[in-house]
């Protein structure tokens, strides 16, 4: 993702969609189109600072296909409400986009089963749902991460959560370090791109020197990531797992954050990642300084 990323916002006229479209424009993201059924032909006004030139109106289309044809959009960010998200996501995958980022939370799990299969079949990349999106500092932000916490640099950040990602990014920035790209893959039980798929991208990205992975209880994605890192990642990886104190059988906010039958505990994940040579952070307040230390040693 970079300055050439051309973004279409699905659900641009909704309250979340319009607010974040403005925020993204302000950050410098190239938003070329919006989509809201039956509102095609209207214009979306960012209403930003006229001096910066960011008040250029964004054309709204009825369909994603139309938006792609007319504006050359290659990436979509989806704010469509959960009940309609399955149709919006299908439409996005059929319209020739490279990447779809779904911010919407609360999508029924069985809808995601269908969407996951659909995207794999089409070979389109999906990030989320229930995620904060991704930011490449200084280039573009697709999603809802607060822009100012970022700084351009060489740390790649991948996480299953939202505000904990901001916390980690902020700690890294406060150490005087910056980020290559920050990706929130989403807190649901079924999400599009996994840790391993993002790690593969960070490994081959020349802008990324070290990688920070922020996981949480539930599922086995962290364990799979540990195996992947052991086999394929040569860059240093620093990891933190949230939910050490969470009891079994209770869902901790995220649909994905639930420990069942002794599987998916924080301890299992910490042990597995540690055994694969990853630097584990025990204290969530020390993510930034651990990254700084690792970078000093690495250089």
């Amino acid at each position: 993702m970079n300055k050439n990323t051309r973004v279409v916002v699905q659900g641009i006229t909704g309250s979340a969609g319009s607010f974040h479209a403005r925020q993204m424009l302000e950050y410098g993201t190239e938003i070329v189109a919006g989509v809201t059924p039956r509102k095609g032909g209207q214009l979306f006004f960012a209403g930003g600072d006229p001096v910066s030139g960011r008040d250029k109106p964004v054309p709204i289309f009825n369909t994603v296909a139309e938006a792609v044809r007319e504006t050359g959009a290659n990436t979509s960010v989806v704010f469509v409400p959960a009940a309609f998200a399955i149709d919006a996501l299908r439409e996005a995958a059929e319209s020739g986009l490279n990447l779809v980022v779904c911010i919407t939370e609360g999508i029924p799990t069985l809808d995601m089963v269908k969407i996951y299969k659909f995207y794999k079949g089409k070979g389109v990349r999906l990030i989320g749902p229930n995620c904060p999106g991704l930011t490449t500092p200084g280039e573009a932000k697709v999603g809802i991460m607060p822009g100012y916490i970022h700084k351009k640099g060489t740390v790649g950040v991948v996480s299953r959560s939202g505000t904990l990602t901001y916390e980690a990014v902020w700690q890294i920035t406060n150490q005087g370090l910056g980020q290559s790209t920050c990706v929130g893959i989403g807190g649901d039980a079924i999400v599009g791109m996994s840790f391993s798929e993002i790690l593969e991208l960070f490994q081959s990205d020349p802008e990324t020197e070290v990688i920070v992975l922020i996981g949480e209880i539930g599922g086995t994605m962290e364990e799979e990531a540990a195996e992947y890192i052991k086999e394929h990642v040569t860059k240093p990886v620093i990891a933190f797992i949230a939910g050490q104190t969470a009891p079994e059988g209770k869902r901790m906010g995220h649909a994905g954050a639930i420990i069942s039958g002794g599987a998916g505990t924080a301890q299992e994940k910490v042990d597995k990642l540690g055994s694969c040579g990853i630097t584990m952070v025990a204290n969530p307040a020390e993510i930034g300084q651990t990254v700084a230390q690792v970078m000093r040693n690495y250089r």
């Binding site: 505000t163 904990l164 902020w170 079924i190 009891p247 069942s260 924080a266 969530p284």
Partner: protein, 387 residues
Amino acid sequence: MNLHEYQAKQLLTKYGINIPRGEVTDNPSRAAEIFKNLNISRGAVKAQIHAGGRGKAGGIKIVSLPAEAEKAAAELLGQTLITHQTGPKGKPVNKILVEELFPAEAGRELYLGIAIDRQKACPVMMFSTEGGMEIEELARRAPEKIVKVLIDSPPELPLDRINELLQKENLKPFAFHLKPILTSLARLFLENDCSLAEINPLVITKDGKLVALDAKINLDDRALFRHKDLVGWRDLTQEDPLEAEASKFGLSYVGLDGNIGCLVNGAGLAMSTMDLIKLHGGEPANFLDVGGGASVEQVTEAFKLLLANKNVKAILVNIFGGIMKCDVIAEGITTAVKQVGLRLPLVVRLEGTNVELGKNIIKKSGLNIVSVDTMNEAAKKVVGFIK
């Protein structure tokens, strides 16, 4: 949302799966009538609660006379049943199910369940000829005895793989009766947006029929909007009152055993705040996520929830304002503190958008709030108040 056994069985019947004859009631004398009308020599009176392990906890009673059914019902109704799955507080018994008793022929009890396989990103059907015990226990003790079939292209069912499964030596004798149950349960799971649908045990009767003796069905809360007919089945008496109250305001709350109340935005940050409290030697009293964009009202409600837990001796607020502005949160906190007349130590850590404005509001409020800059400091301070 969890269903009671009797509700789950109603759904099974709708999908043509055999269940024991019986009826649910909240009245002991009605229990005697039900038993009599069933015209059976032995029956079961089963407590209806949202938890397993009822048998061992005395929640299932075997009876052979209407008077015994009435007595069993009278004992169970109004009782709080504690099983290994309910937690120490237990669950209230407000309804009982009176059923005919079905001893398994030759001890054959089967297990059949469908759940979401996260790694494969689709539902998975699990089947075992070793029914009766809990599937987690079976998975630990003898994983080779569970066969799995992925339902990977819903709404299509994996019929070829089901047929293949039924060709296995030990299943061939039941294939005729088993096949419609496998497909019906899969349809039930998909059509009702279940997160779990389990029949355990599934028993074989003398005439070779299969009957679902017990069933557990959980629904995906996120899909309830398209199952208006099932929403009415929600039983709030089976849920933690604070958790149910929180859900009304769009807050996510989970009660824990400690004494430090936590209020955080975002699930990941909330979990790590709890972890940090523990790391500093304290015990969190709850998980409370006010979401990415909480309003002043939500923050106020969140405070009331924290204080409703009498174990809470100090409160930690940790907000990373991204979308949520710190001044809005600060307004919410000061409003709430004034409204509820807070007497407990309160440590607030604000970071992010409009953080200076937020800190100013707290400072100017004149309220006894400890304001700190980092989450580490916040955790240390709040634990210090307890010790």
